[in-house]
């Protein structure tokens, strides 16, 4: 049926300085459909969203909503036209309550109108129930976990009667149960006749949800097809423009002598206690567990962000005290945190300056930086990690998310660590870059680097780790060898309903 599309984009072009983020993207969204957008990092997905929500204006091309061409889109006009977005990093007001956050998106009226707080709470409760959540609407956003905040965002989009709902990696930080309620919410939106633009790197989700799929590559839309007509392989080939080799790199090197040895480690305030774990040289240890099981907290203890208040840490046999990140760096520990988008790199600084930031001593003599050596070191990393940039003097803020993450990795490799802690190293990263990062991790481990990898993605944990430590409730619930580990056993340990799985 040739229905009028909710949204039609034609020939969108957007350049940032020398970077052509969009080079001709066409796209349409019909009522009652889920239209997935896939592509590698830097393919132009973020920019596309920004154009639709009016956050940036395209250089060329047209936007039509409900058949009418929109002359100038800005966030306010987008809101009035029924566009709502749910981001990977929730964009809510942290000091306001759930109900207030929803009300801000939903209520219309004069600035001096009287506010009906009870109706606000009731409406928030109804909307939350529709996505299967029983959150208290009066709680402040800052007291919620990331998945809970995401649920609030979805409820808000539902409540504002949005006709065009954009979901950018909505499941990135959700557990299975929340994913289920998210899927229900999406179904709900479809039934009501809204269109959903769904962006995700998890192809399983896309096949479960989408009616149609558009593939972006290097800022161009390279194809739109019905989800039923394509296979996973087709999509991957379209996305990267080449067939993908083995999913996980082969691990041939046997781990060497023990490097890190922690015993009874804990930090009372973060609920981590009695953690004992050993990591050998050249070994990749996967740290699995549910969100909130203390994985990130353990990493932060090891990196000195939350100095341990019990237990011991030994590096290479010698007891060490780690009270600050600089202690950790001195003892050869590096940490690439999870939320790279926010604090992994310094956006105002050049790639070269970012890459040397944790290793200023290494590129300077008596406190004076050798700028040529710094640039040369950065150039080597740009080469080695295939960071896409015109120059090492380009500001990190001009790079795509995946390339920013590579810069964050470069910074830590520059310190020549003995132990690299990676927190969700491939979260929100596309298939191509993911394989690159995995290959790179295997290479580093083969070179003798020990890696402690936190990941919520079980295939990744199983594919990359020599051993897997599963955390639950702040301590290690069990250790599995690569050979004996399965998704089921990890889950059983993480959920705690099968203690014998560890035996």
């Amino acid at each position: 049926m040739p229905e009028l599309p909710l949204l039609r984009l034609d020939g969108l072009v957007k350049t940032y300085g020398a970077v052509r983020a969009l080079r001709g993207v066409s796209f349409d969204l019909r009522p009652g459909e889920v239209h997935a957008v896939v592509g590698e990092n830097g393919a132009g997905k973020s920019t596309l969203i920004k154009v639709i929500t009016g956050a940036v204006a395209p250089d060329e091309g047209t936007i039509a909503i409900g058949g009418r061409t929109v002359a100038a889109m800005d966030p306010h006009a987008a809101h009035l036209s029924g566009v709502a977005a749910v981001y990977q990093q929730p964009a809510l007001f942290p000091h306001l309550s759930v109900a207030e956050n929803i009300a801000l998106a939903v209520e219309r009226g004069r600035a001096w109108r009287r506010l009906d707080w009870r109706a606000r709470d009731a409406r928030a409760r109804t909307l939350l129930e529709r996505v299967g959540s029983r959150l208290d609407p009066r709680r402040a956003i800052e007291s919620l976990t990331m998945p809970e905040q995401q649920i609030v965002e979805i409820a808000r989009a539902l409540g504002s009667d949005a006709r065009i709902v954009i979901m950018d990696e909505p499941t990135a930080s959700l557990g299975d149960r929340e994913v289920d309620s998210l899927f229900r919410a999406v179904a709900h939106l479809k039934e009501s006749g809204a269109g959903v633009i769904y962006i995700s790197h998890r192809l399983e989700e896309i096949f479960a949800l989408a009616n149609r799929i558009t593939v972006l590559r290097d800022g161009e839309s390279v194809g739109t097809c019905a989800a039923a007509d394509v296979t996973r392989q087709d999509l991957v080939r379209l996305m990267v423009g080449r067939p993908l080799a083995d999913v996980y790199p082969a691990r041939t090197h046997a781990p060497g002598a023990p490097l890190l040895d922690i015993e009874g480690l804990g930090h009372r305030e973060s609920g981590v206690h009695g953690v004992s774990l050993a990591v050998r040289r050249g070994e990749i240890v996967g740290l699995a567990g549910l969100v909130g099981s203390g994985r990130t907290e353990l990493a932060e203890i090891l990196f000195g962000l939350r100095p341990a208040d019990e237990g011991t840490i030994r590096m290479g046999g010698a007891g060490v005290r780690i009270a600050s990140p600089s202690d950790a760096i001195r003892h050869g520990i590096a940490y690439v945190p999870e939320d790279r988008r926010r604090h992994g790199v310094i956006l105002d600084m050049s790639i070269a300056a970012n890459a040397s930031l944790a290793n200023l001593r290494g590129v300077s003599r008596r406190g004076i930086i050798d700028r040529a050596a710094e640039a040369a070191a950065a150039a080597r990393f740009v080469d080695r990690l295939r960071i896409k940039t015109p120059s090492v003097q380009a500001e990190a803020g001009t790079l795509s998310g995946g390339n920013q993450q590579k810069v964050a990795l470069a910074r830590w490799l520059a310190t020549e660590p003995a132990l690299l802690i990676l927190d969700e190293p491939t979260q929100g990263v596309d298939v191509g870059a993911k394989a690159e990062i995995h290959r790179f991790m295997a290479e580093l481990a083969a070179g003798g680097l020990s890696i402690l990898m936190i990941s919520s993605e079980l295939p990744e944990v199983l594919g990359m780790s020599d051993r897997i430590a599963v955390m639950r409730g702040g301590s290690i619930a069990g250790l599995l060898d690569r050979a004996e580990a399965t998704q089921d056993r990890i889950l059983a340990l993480a959920l705690g309903h099968a203690r014998e799985a560890a035996e």
Binding site: L305, S326, R342
Partner: protein, 326 residues
């Protein structure tokens, strides 16, 4: 990290101002005039160097005027009690360092917002000084103190040399010294800097302390110009200084700015008043014009940032929005 374009546009504004003077009031161009202009603003420039450090680190210090007054009195009291010049400079700078370090400790280690801390110390220090001096000025300064014991014509040369050395050193250091890199990183994104192993609290403490030393130096170089030292000096100095730094291209949110920019900012704002007088405009407009220049500078910043699609620059005093285009 630097802002060459900003420096070029202020230099252009200065050139326009001086071209107008050359055209309509060539009598402006006398040696005495420039000497007066320089000596009068030399202390402002010194204090602005310190304020640039603080602002680069993403903080603000509005207690500059009060620290300036205290350090002036310290220098004067030392001079009257016969402390030799070199020792006097050191004592005055130590006083500035102590006061700056107090601000710095409250901001860095107690985690208080710098605008609140330095507003409190601005008032407390000034009132403290009034109580201690009972409003009396320091009189009977020895001849060995005035003009650093030099002749009145030799002093400007010394001051010019000090300016040149500091300016060149700071401009070079801000690009090549590792510690300065830490300041830029802390100002750009304190959390990211901390995750990179930079002791951000120490950086913040250090910039306030260094800022105090620069303010002390400013007070000292100001004190030697007169034969008495008022105990109420430096009122409003912080505004002059911060305005110059901002006009010079530093973002108030931190992480961006340069010492060359600050120098040009001081020159531009300092030249406006005298230029008005010579151009026959009533000098009542001086402050309004200062305000207009500051507004123009931040507006241009904001527009440039938007045109780049990059980010909103820190126009407020709070931490800047870190959203960016990827």
């Amino acid at each position: 990290m630097t802002s060459r374009r900003r420096e070029a546009s202020i230099a252009a504004a200065i050139a326009v101002l001086y071209a107008a003077l050359a055209l309509f009031a060539p009598v402006f161009f006398t040696r005495e005039n420039f000497s007066d202009l320089f000596l009068g603003n030399f202390p402002v420039l010194l204090a602005a160097m310190g304020a640039t450090l603080v602002i680069l680190a993403g903080e603000i210090d509005i207690s500059i005027g009060s620290v300036f007054a205290i350090c002036g009195v310290v220098a004067g009291v030392c001079a009257v009690s016969g402390v030799p010049l070199a020792a006097n400079v050191l004592i005055t700078c130590a006083a500035g360092a102590a006061l700056g370090s107090l601000n710095g400790a409250l901001v860095a280690y107690a985690g208080l917002p710098s605008i609140v801390v330095t507003l409190a110390t601005m008032v407390a220090l000034r009132e403290g000084l009034r109580w201690a001096t009972e409003g009396a000025w320091v009189q009977n300064l020895p001849g060995s103190f005035q003009w650093l014991g030099l002749s009145q014509s030799a002093y400007p040369l010394v001051a010019a040399a000090v300016t040149l050395v500091l300016q060149v050193t700071l401009a070079w250091a801000s690009r090549h010294v590792a510690a300065f890199r830490s300041i830029f990183a802390t100002g750009s994104d304190a959390e990211a800097a901390r995750l990179a192993g930079i002791a951000t609290a120490r950086v913040k403490w250090a910039v306030f302390t260094a800022g105090g030393v620069f303010t002390a130096l400013a007070a000292f170089m100001n004190a030697v110009r007169f034969n008495q030292i008022p105990s109420n000096a430096g009122i409003g100095l912080e505004m002059k200084v911060i305005a110059a730094v901002v006009v010079g291209g530093a973002t108030v949110g931190g992480g961006r700015g340069s010492f060359g920019g600050t120098l040009l900012g001081v020159i531009l704002l300092a030249s406006v008043g005298p230029a008005l007088v010579f151009l026959g405009v009533t000098s009542y407009w001086e402050r309004a014009l200062h305000g207009a220049i500051v507004l123009a500078a931040v507006t241009i910043d904001a527009l440039a940032a938007r045109a780049q699609g990059h980010r909103a620059s820190g126009l407020g005093l709070g931490p800047r929005a870190k959203a960016t285009v990827s």
